[in-house]
Amino acid sequence: MLRLPRFALEVPETVGQALAALSTSEARLLAGGTDLLPNLKHRLETPSTLVSLHRLAALRGIALDEGARVLRLGTGVTLATIAHDATVKVHAPSLAEAAASVASPQIRRTATLGGNVHLDTRCRYVNQTALWRSAIGGCLKSGGTVCHVVEGGQNCVAALSSDTVPVLVALDAELVLASLVDGSEQRRTVPFARYFRSDGLRHTERARGEIATEVRVPLATGPRRATYVKWRPRATIDFPLVSIALRFDLDGEHDEAVVTDARVVVGVLGSRPRVVSTAAAMGLRMRDETLPERVAEAVWRECKPLENVPYEAPYRRTLLRVLTRRAVARLARVGAVGAT
């Protein structure tokens, strides 16, 4: 069978200890391990030390901060908990939806929110065994010098495959990162919209010594309809091959309610989520019959999937349009879906 490479394992109990462990060597953070361990088995990386976040109780809270109008989610909370937690379902239902769509029940009970946010980018030419990769001479992300997706490409376009990231961007969420600065613990906060980079080799702004501790989701200030759409060949297990997070804020809960703010965020393109222009939706009634196609048209125009994951890119582009249109129509029809 595929075996893990050898590594040392650190099991700190506080964020401070974890940060210290992380700073000492070529260490890599281990949360649920559902992404990292298979990647290690494929020898995509061979860190000398893994720093387990398993015992960091501080990362496992879910708290509704009414004062700050924010939902605080520890990065160590499992996806199963995010999917089923009553508070999350009320205040960030599209996030619960996305978490519930990840992989399989077993994986969701192990995988964490922080792990899913930092899920390594994926590519059909990367997520293979060492023998397989050697047969094609490697690539930018795996010991080679060429990109097999974009001919002559100098920039890795491995796909952002997290289900939660597009939703968190759509909800204007922020990520809290802890680090050690001159021996003392510091925190910084980065909006998800600015956290991801167009580089499949290093697709987040996380510095090597940082640990993401908390996801902050601002509460809606008025009526909101939000959802997450994922396409995959099978009804479970598979990573998303198309993903769209949608959010519409309305001026009221009535048939004539008008869109006052909107976010449409698409994943599985390159290594960062794409925020699609929503100008076409602003000021329209949620029930305007043209709204679904206007939004779908914007998505289709601005998003061009690549051949970095299975299923043909033109087909996935068609799906983006169809699934977006249907999702918007569904949100318009069913006031209850995603409303807070």
């Binding site: 069978m1 595929l2 075996r3 050898r6 059909r124 030419y125 997520n127 293979q128 065994t129 023998l131 397989w132 050697s134 047969a135 094609i136 097999h148 060949p233 099978r234 009804a235 479970t236 297990i237 598979d238 990573f239 289709w300 299975p310 299923y311 043909e312 087909y315 582009r317 068609t318 799906l319 349009r321 169809v322 699934l323």
Partner: protein
């Protein structure tokens, strides 16, 4: 629990598996055991210039390295096409071909040592397309005698040209089956150990212990009597474990070299490289039909992409044509099949060997004919039904035939007529039929010995011991023999102990393939059980001074049929019999009939003692905007002759349907020609088999048309029901949206492209909208 024939039984060994107690090959460990790994080629085609293993051998914990030079004797499951060496000798023939093997103290050391073996390759052009391979002067397989042409078969029955010329219509179609693999959940595993007296024991997750036994002896140049093969419980096979593989030969050699037990478990990637899955086939069909829907002639040309080795390919080439001549009367038939070597993992037998691909083609052809003639597709099939106790056009003798009953069952259960008439655009229902063999009359290596044999011994404690050569690979052959013993000797299932698939202890059986076991080992077991029943009933009759025919063995009792109050426990009956006859043991064996095949060259291939029949109806919902096909429901009726154990038969029908549905909608075993011939994704994440959530509701119906050749009339059930799944789905998609999908699989992009093509033709006015008079289940314009 009733133990007799036709009842529902708890499968023998089921509780051990459910409770995690079954010990699969990889669960076995022996003291001092080493772990082996095989170095595999990163090139699809390359000359091996040199192999330097000195750095690996110098590593602490590495015991031995072997290469192709240690295996000079070629082997192959078919004696006429021995074209494999356990490891490559001169050339690597596909990405994943085995180059060298080593044994080390643990798996991690073995993996590290592999990376220290230095191989110099001279890459050669990779021939990945069968037509290109045929045209190339570069011969792939060093043992091949006709370049890259592996096998060509051309057989004609009747005058096809004349029949097609006089047909009212000729339906022409070109079909492509991409090829699929078995995806058994247990990866191949083997363990070898040499005892002090020199006996080599190999435990392997094989479905053919006897053939493995023979080939081990051949390749290792040891007498067969010095080798023992044991098949532990197996985690799925489906044809993917039905010939020797490099791992068994390597662990045996490494055990002989090191004197220590050696184990090797394939990675999932290696399972994909070992493959032997369903062949890619390009099939061109011309089918003549008369105005009233009778098939007047069938002309088939098939190009078969074999991969780098022949495996069972000689048989596959014949099966691609020979197994098609039922359940319909063809009028006249010609098939022209060519199997070609390519630089890909070798294809072989997968459930429904050789005939699933052409069955797809012919059943879609018939659907096209029905559309053309405005006939109900079930009615068209009925009109062409071959009937029972007859011969096919290629001279195979058909005994019982429950095909019409199968058609009637699925027609009624599915609400066929109503759905055909009413289902809206976007929803559809389709039908297909099929047939399959219950084993083959001629074994893989010519001989006149029995194909199956068992020994049954009764014990005075009231138990029966069955030594059976048959490989239970989950299909339930151990249960079949146990049920037969229970039926004849009045025992409960838990009173029967079946020991199977151990070449030292059990009689020879040729293995679990071609759906041969229920009929063959069943017949052998019935012979032994009847002999024992005779001994027991005679002894009881003697005690009671009655005629032996009055003694009934049932419910662990011997009972006087005419005075049922006279009865003794079965243990007492066994004691009386053992006192009279000595040890109560009997053997039974089964030899196939030799008068049920064609008189022409090749006429024996595909000839079976008995044929099963199946009919499928599938209902689908197609999303016109995304091309996604939802399998709403499947109804399948299968004529297995007689169900020895009902739940097992239903399980085989459901499992076949599940597997066929995956092949229709999801699975494709593809090699990437743009990247040097690597597998497109040798993992279960990228090779997608349906999950339970992707599996449709299946209604499985048992139809029983008992056949004189089978035990109690039984025929096969494990492979036949797969065939018609795929064309039933294709035909249902046509009914739903009016597009023909002649290339497998019917993935959403392909379906959407076909819809767009039809829409284009509707726009230009060459086609009327499909089901224009009915409502729509899916937005009619839609799309991007």
């Amino acid at each position: 629990m009733t133990a007799g024939v036709g009842a529902r039984h708890r499968k023998v060994g089921a509780m051990e598996r459910l409770r995690g107690l079954a010990r699969y090959t990889d669960d076995l460990a022996l003291p001092g055991m080493l772990h082996a790994k095989i170095l595999r080629s990163p090139h699809a085609h390359a000359k091996i210039l040199s192999i330097d293993a000195s750095r690996a051998l110098a590593m602490e914990g590495v015991s031995a390295v072997v290469t192709g030079r240690d295996f000079p004797v070629a082997y192959g499951i078919i004696p006429w096409t021995r074209d494999e060496n356990a490891l490559c000798v001169e050339k690597a023939l596909y990405v994943g071909d085995g180059i060298a093997a080593l044994a080390a103290i643990d798996e991690d050391t073995a993996i590290e040592a592999l990376s220290k073996i230095r191989v110099d390759y001279e890459p050669l052009p990779a021939l990945l397309d069968p037509e290109a391979a045929l045209a190339s002067p570069l011969s792939i397989n060093p043992h091949a005698t006709k370049g890259n042409l592996h096998k060509h078969v051309l057989l004609e029955f009747g005058d096809v040209k004349a029949k097609l010329a006089e047909a009212d219509h000729v339906v022409e179609g070109e079909y492509f089956f991409e090829g699929t693999t078995h995806a058994a959940i247990e990866p191949h595993c083997a363990l070898a150990s040499v005892e002090p007296d020199g006996l080599l024991t190999v435990w392997s997750s094989t479905q053919v212990p006897h053939y493995l036994h023979r080939e081990l002896a051949r390749v290792l140049e040891l007498p067969a009597r010095r080798i023992r093969v044991i098949q532990p419980p197996i985690g799925g096979a489906f044809g993917g474990k039905s010939e020797p593989f490099d791992l068994e030969l390597c662990v045996a050699k490494l055990a002989l070299v090191t004197g220590r037990p050696v184990k090797l478990l394939y990675t999932r990637e290696e399972v994909f490289y070992a493959h032997r899955g369903r062949h890619p086939m390009r099939m061109r069909y011309r089918t003549g039909v008369t105005g009233d829907g009778r098939i007047s002639g069938v002309d088939a040309r098939t190009l078969i992409d074999g991969g780098a080795y022949s495996s069972f390919g000689l048989v596959t080439t014949y099966y691609s044509g020979q197994l098609l001549c039922a359940p319909y009367d063809f009028g006249a038939y010609r098939f022209d099949s060519t199997r070609v070597y390519t630089n890909k993992p070798a294809c072989g037998p997968k459930r429904g060997h050789g005939s699933v691909q052409p069955r797809f083609a012919i059943e879609v052809q018939l659907d096209k004919a029905a559309t053309l003639l405005g006939l109900d597709p079930i009615e068209l099939r009925r009109r062409n039904a071959l009937g029972h106790d007859t011969r096919t056009i290629n001279e195979m003798a058909i005994g019982s035939n429950g095909f019409l009953a199968c058609l009637a069952k699925v027609e009624e259960a599915s609400g066929w007529k109503d759905k055909r008439a009413r289902l809206p655009y976007g929803r559809g229902i389709g039908v297909a039929g099929s047939t399959y063999i219950s084993g083959t009359n001629y074994p893989i290596y010519p001989n006149e010995m029995p194909q199956s044999a068992v020994q049954v011994t009764l014990d005075r404690s009231g138990r029966a011991r069955v030594l059976s050569g048959a490989s239970d690979i989950g299909q339930g052959s151990d249960t079949v023999v146990a049920v037969i013993v229970c039926e004849e000797l009045g025992l409960g299932l838990e009173d029967v102990r079946v020991l199977s698939a151990d070449t030292d202890l059990c009689p020879v059986d040729l293995g679990a393939y071609s759906s041969r076991l229920t009929l063959m080992v069943g017949n052998a077991c019935l012979e032994a059980a009847l002999a024992l029943r005779r001994e027991v009933t005679e002894s009881v009759a003697k005690k009671w001074s009655v005629a032996p025919s009055r003694v009934v063995l049932a419910d662990r009792m011997a009972i006087d049929r005419e005075s049922p109050e006279r009865a003794v426990p079965i243990t007492e009956a066994f004691e009386w019999a053992e006192s009279e006859h000595g040890l109560l043991t009997a053997s039974g064996s089964y030899k196939t009939p030799t008068d049920r095949h064609g008189s022409y060259r090749g006429g024996t291939i595909g000839a079976s003692p008995a044929y099963s029949f199946t009919a499928h109806v599938a209902e689908v919902r197609v999303d016109e905007e995304t091309g996604e096909v939802e399998l709403v429901h499947v109804w399948v009726a299968h004529d297995c002759g007689r169900a020895i154990s009902r739940t097992l038969v239903e399980g085989q029908i459901e499992g076949s349907t599940y597997m066929g549905a995956g092949e229709a909608l999801l699975e494709a075993h593809r090699i990437d020609a743009r990247h040097g011939g690597v597998h497109e994704g040798p993992s279960l994440l990228d090779y997608r088999i349906p999950t339970s959530l992707d599996t449709p509701p299946i209604d499985a119906f048992i139809v029983e048309a008992p056949d004189a050749q089978g035990p109690y009339g039984a025929k096969e059930a494990g492979e036949g029901p797969l065939h018609s799944t795929i064309p039933a789905i294709a035909n249902a998609i046509y009914d739903a949206i009016g597009v023909r999908l002649d290339r497998l699989p019917f993935g959403p992009p392909a379906v959407l492209a076909a819809i767009e093509e039809r829409r284009r033709r509707e726009r230009e006015g060459t086609l009327a909208p499909h089901k224009a008079d009915r409502a729509s289940d899916t937005p009619r314009k839609g799309g991007a």
